[in-house]
């Protein structure tokens, strides 16, 4: 869990508290909506998260 928090802080530049909140969501619900961005930026984040071997996808806004 400390790994996931670290990766969120590293990639998104978040404070620990925010990173831990999303990490806990992933832990408890199996997923968390991390950011809402345009396609290009979202693609970049997916690539970054996957390079740390975290399963990440981007979905069109509802």
């Amino acid at each position: 869990m400390v790994y996931v928090t670290h990766v969120f802080m590293k990639i998104f530049g978040w404070e620990r508290q925010k990173a831990e909140k999303h990490m806990m969501e992933v832990h408890e619900k199996g997923k968390s909506v991390l950011v809402r961005e345009g396609a290009e930026k979202a693609e970049f984040y997916v690539q970054q998260l996957q390079s740390y071997k975290l399963q990440a996808t981007m979905e069109p806004a509802e």
Binding site: V2, Y3, H6, K10, A39, E43, V46, Q47, Q50, S51, Y52, K53, Q55, T57, M58, E59, P60
Partner: protein, 156 residues
Amino acid sequence: MKLVKQTQKGFQYELDREDADSLRFLVKQFPLTAFSPVDVSKTDCGANAVEREKLVNESLRAHRKELKRKARSLMLPEKFRTLDGKQFFRLSLGARETMLQILNDIRVESWRILGEPEEPDVNIFGLSKEKFKYYHFMRLAGYFEYHFLNLEEERG
């Protein structure tokens, strides 16, 4: 394993011989499996999404190849210094991120080989010799991953 020095440029760890040998052995195993493409979206099947997935997977494939090259250089003998029977291992900030990515890749791929078990369900006595090897890799990678991160946190 102990964090003995932390600067703005990186970290220096003190490892006992057993940990140093285990780390060298583990990192040498990378990659455990061939690259497998990832799904970039669960719901978007449009032409743009297909192209996007292709690009992301090309990038990830190249990244993993680069990690393999870096894994070798991380474990070069000069990265370890022996003093009074203790081994000191240095990592720059960037090299630690590389190390974490390598360790987590080993941990996740081992877990997949084991059938993606919930950890408490792993009956190690029921594992074949081959699968026990991956169970060991998974635990070892988790151990080092945890310590590379937590030692920093403990020092604040």
